[in-house]
Symmetry: C2
Subunit: 182 residues, 2 copies
């Protein structure tokens, strides 16, 4: 071996402050985009229907992505879809009845702090007498409770009104300088 390759490893190594990304309670973009979409829809009381394309154009997120998310939300009964040319999505239940907990589970699957319990023969190497699982469950319960007590309405109300330029019709006047160039 000729010498040591001293490549900087961005993960793991660096002193104390080299951390890169947040985790814990970091919802994936599904939740993120889902919230954005619902927020957008609720903020336009006049127009009860919103297309995935509109959300995609307004916020610059991938059409397919937002599409999938809205489809999931339709399956779980949060929105209803309208087929056809001038179709789209519409809220099908008041957001005051939708907890953040439920919303997240819809998009990200079952939530929990620990998943020692598995389908395999042995649940987990240490689980049979794992001293960590039990107290974690308790913590988990508390966090979940917090999420259950927060409705999307609460969340959006705290956020204040949607800025005007998000409400403008994309067709009416595109505020983005860059042309679609399609």
């Amino acid at each position: 071996m000729s010498g040591f390759h001293r490549r900087p490893n961005p993960l793991w190594g660096p002193p104390s402050a080299g951390f890169k990304r947040q985790k814990l309670l970091k919802f994936s973009k599904k939740t993120d985009y889902g919230l954005i979409a619902l927020r957008h829809m609720t903020a336009r009381p006049g127009e009860s229907i919103t297309s995935a394309r509109e959300v995609s154009d307004t916020y610059g997120v991938s059409y397919e992505l937002i599409s999938k998310i809205l489809q999931t939300l339709k399956r779980t009964g949060v929105v209803a879809s309208v087929q056809g040319a001038s179709g789209g999505y519409r809220l099908s239940r008041p957001l005051s009845t939708l907890s953040l907990f439920d919303f997240i589970e819809m998009l990200e699957g079952p939530q929990g702090v620990i998943d020692c319990a598995r389908a395999g023969s042995e649940p987990c190497l240490v689980s049979s007498s794992c001293n960590v699982v039990m107290p974690m469950r308790e913590l988990n319960r508390k966090v979940m409770k917090l999420l259950q007590e927060t409705t999307l309405e609460d969340l959006f109300r705290e956020a204040g009104p949607l800025p005007a330029h998000f409400l403008a019709h994309p067709a009416a006047e595109p505020p983005v300088p860059e042309a679609a160039a399609k």
Copy 2:
């Protein structure tokens, strides 16, 4: 050299039905193993020193992994290390002063619900007037508070005493039926 323990390691086992993995508040194994190690150490008041090898052997987790974690914990002042043949690690502060929040941050990095900040030129597509960020921050604050209010001592106390077979000296009597074969 036929190397190290070839344990099956079924932690995080096979894909379950439907959703594959839990997220949200799912700590990585770092936190998991870190807790196990600290728990192990606190449960043996007589023996104030514990080697990484001992933890690794007792719980069947990779020696290198647990080693790295303990090294990190040393860097952050939770444990102190003792070099040499009969060296190891020892708690260097009471766990009643260590919040779960701090512990997790030590091992996983800064925590938070949202990271709109992107590596690109713009921080985030919607961040400048994102209606979702603000209320999320509030939620985040609550969750973090919960983690801050829980100390590792609380966590372990709730868990009850460590089963006896985890306390036995590995050298004294190996409780595992399968021989090390090396």
